[in-house]
């Protein structure tokens, strides 16, 4: 039980910290692209860890009690996690591309090869 | 422990109200629709916290995906 609690605390702590970093980065960074960096990476990573905590928790509870509902909890959490991992970077890509095409240029940029390339 | 749950409720509702307020006060339509979407999604979270998962699914599916879609279509069609 003690090990489980420790693991849960560690995982949840990492998750919360990275989520926090994500939202702070969203506030602190100067333009859309850097904000996307912060929000996408950090919140995805943080959510992965919180979900891992839930999955580990449910598997351990299943081990202890043998109640089938914890299997369902774990499996569905895994599915939710997979959805999150697949959709989040794609969404970030879509936003970045849309931002660039709608004329929002990166601030302080040293180089912008996309602007030079002029894709259709 | 119940007081903590109440604090969570108050937080969710506050964010939701701010988002709704933004939906009203934004001048441009697109940010307004985005704020409406945020309000709708947080409404879904609030339903979830109020132990109404059926309604939360309906609100998430309709508020997030479809309302957004039809609003965007309407904005596209009127410019």
């Amino acid at each position: 039980m003690g090990i489980l609690l420790a693991i849960l605390y560690i995982f949840l702590g990492i998750g919360v910290i990275f989520n926090c970093l994500g939202s702070i980065g969203l506030l602190r960074f100067p333009d859309v692209y850097t904000r996307l960096h912060a929000s996408t990476k950090a919140t995805t990573f943080g959510s992965i860890f919180t979900s891992f905590a839930v999955i580990i928790y449910s598997f351990s509870r299943w081990n202890v009690s043998g109640d089938s509902k914890f299997v369902v909890l774990a499996l569905h959490a895994i599915v939710a996690l997979i959805c999150l991992i697949i959709t989040n970077p794609t969404g970030a890509h879509a936003i970045a591309r849309a931002a660039h095409r709608s004329g929002v240029m990166p601030k302080q940029a040293v180089i912008d090869q996309l602007k030079e390339a002029k894709l259709e | 422990m119940n007081s903590f749950v109440e604090i969570v409720h108050i937080f969710t509702l506050t964010i939701m109200i701010i988002a709704a307020l933004l939906a009203v006060i934004f001048k441009k339509l697109l940010p307004s629709v985005i704020a409406l979407s945020v309000a709708s999604l947080l409404l879904s979270l609030e339903f979830y916290l109020l132990h109404a998962p059926d309604v939360a699914i309906a609100e998430a599916a309709i508020g997030a995906g479809l309302t957004m879609a039809i609003f965007i279509f309407a904005i596209r069609g009127t410019r």
Partner: protein, 169 residues
């Protein structure tokens, strides 16, 4: 027809994954769930086959590729992701950035491969895929810390393209 069967099997697997622990068959499923799953999967395959198999490539049927994919996911990818987050944490706290958009040519041919690479890049240190050249699969990357103005693929994404080539091509 092969497309249809593959889609059918995939959706059946997903369905069974979702309804696990409802009955006794293999300790997990009840007979009605399986029957219903088969019916629904047929319907889903009718709807989704045309969308899933637009290119008619069957490379991903090889289970070895899936094994490599899992190894990739747990090994280098996860490691890079952790590194990325520490990197982001550093930049969030210090606010030290030097951004730019650069172009790389990873030389991947399949759609799935380039997609996987783009998503990996988005989740790994300091990079974000902004746009893609549809003709020759060149990626335009927003790089938060531009160290060189003429970056090679390795600068951006280490040896991910090798892994992904092994998985998808």
């Amino acid at each position: 027809m092969l497309d249809f069967i593959i889609t059918f099997l995939l959706s059946l697997i997903v369905y069974l994954f979702l309804v696990a622990s409802t009955g006794e068959i293999a300790g997990l499923w009840s007979i009605f769930e399986i029957i219903l799953g088969i019916i629904l999967s047929i319907i889903v395959s009718i709807i989704a086959t045309k969308v899933l198999f637009q290119k008619r490539s069957y490379r991903m049927l090889n289970p070895l590729r899936w094994v490599i994919f899992l190894i990739y996911l747990i090994g280098p990818f996860f490691f890079a992701m952790a590194k990325a987050n520490i990197d982001v944490a550093y930049r969030v706290i210090t606010g030290r950035i030097n951004p730019g958009i650069v172009k790389i040519s990873p030389g991947l041919k399949t759609d799935l491969g380039i997609t996987m690479l783009a998503d990996s890049i988005t989740l790994t240190p300091g990079t974000l895929s902004v746009d893609i050249d549809e003709k020759n699969n060149d990626l335009y990357i927003h790089w938060i810390n531009v160290t060189t103005l003429k970056p090679t693929t390795y600068h951006i994404c280490a040896n991910f393209p090798h892994w992904i080539r092994r998985i998808t091509e």
